[in-house]
Subunit: 205 residues, 2 copies
Amino acid sequence: MSVTKKVGRPKAFDRDNALAKATGVFWKQGYEGASMKLLTDAMGINSPSLYAEFGDKHGLYLEAINSYATNDACTPLVALETEPDITQAVRAFFEAVIDYSTHHASGAKGCFLVSCVATSAGHVEGTAELLRDAITSTDSRIKARFDHEIELGNLPREFPSADRAKLMFDLRQGMVFRARAGFDDSDLTGDTEKYVSSVLAKPEN
Amino acid sequence: MSVTKKVGRPKAFDRDNALAKATGVFWKQGYEGASMKLLTDAMGINSPSLYAEFGDKHGLYLEAINSYATNDACTPLVALETEPDITQAVRAFFEAVIDYSTHHASGAKGCFLVSCVATSAGHVEGTAELLRDAITSTDSRIKARFDHEIELGNLPREFPSADRAKLMFDLRQGMVFRARAGFDDSDLTGDTEKYVSSVLAKPEN
DNA sequence: CTTTTTTTGTAACGCTCATTACAAAATCCC
DNA sequence: GGGATTTTGTAATGAGCGTTACAAAAAAAG
């Protein structure tokens, strides 16, 4: 609670800022491609400080994943959950995705989880599990918003909320993949309206 | 044409097989994570042979990308293009995607382009361009199949073939992302039918 | 059988990697 | 101000990286 002054020499860096900078490096370079030199340079600290604060490179990576999953990766979800009108909400979700996958402050393109962590899921311990958690929790948060709208009568009773949640999230992976490959926001925004329609389309049959 | 005998000591390995094995290592480990030791062990050759045949690690990587893009990554497209009925064709596309993203012979999960090459697009020369080529060419091959069905009268005149092609391909990225995270074919096949419906749904208004 | 050509396996190259030992520096406590 | 405590920056560690030099081996050509 209190900002208790601690004995000893004070830290010369901000933890959250250093972690954000490290995330940017991982995002651009991948896990193995992010060397200690690149990391410490971006974070503005020396390696002993990094080790004292995060354990080692692997620990830093896991923290970066958690930090990203609860910050950047959540802004589209927050947009989806706060926008009152459901069509506007879905639109806002995709717009937020396009925004940070093409214009993130770090300069990295695409999505950190899809374009970097997914690669390490093949061989870096602990990452596949974090990825699965992120996927299932996102699926269910989207579904929850749809269910809420069904309750309100803004979506038909038979609206397949779970299926459409996965569809919506899977479409997102395609968009961030395009962003990673170098397509910019003007290339992606053209698809948004069609994707919104498909996500909210009345179930056939 | 002719299998002209060449002077000198004959090669002791098969080029295509070695390249396929290398692709599997890159797919699992990522570009930097795929060390020369892992590569040469999997390929069954020593590093001088690798350098003589592929130039260097970077050259091998680019060849692996091209090889994958014209082989594994194409089987869903071939399925889409050869299956006579359009609904069956779209279904076969997704089934082929699920098949190799969860059961590839190399043991790697997901899609090489999405789960590995996309990461290197951030920093490995020449990869972003290959990725963009793969995306645009896939978009247009899917669209071509839809256009063909419009001609035949099996899809309505106003069917938005270009939009649905991108939607279909973007949905695929979501599926292979799930596969990479560790979801298996039984988790993914449940979504297929809904995705087929969304891809082929009658355009609203 | 000798020469020429090409690929082989071994062993080395310099470099960069992640990690850490250590002493100087900066703060709080008494 | 002196001692305790924590972080700092420097510099070193051994291991592993991608790459290559080189000589032995295996084939065809003369």
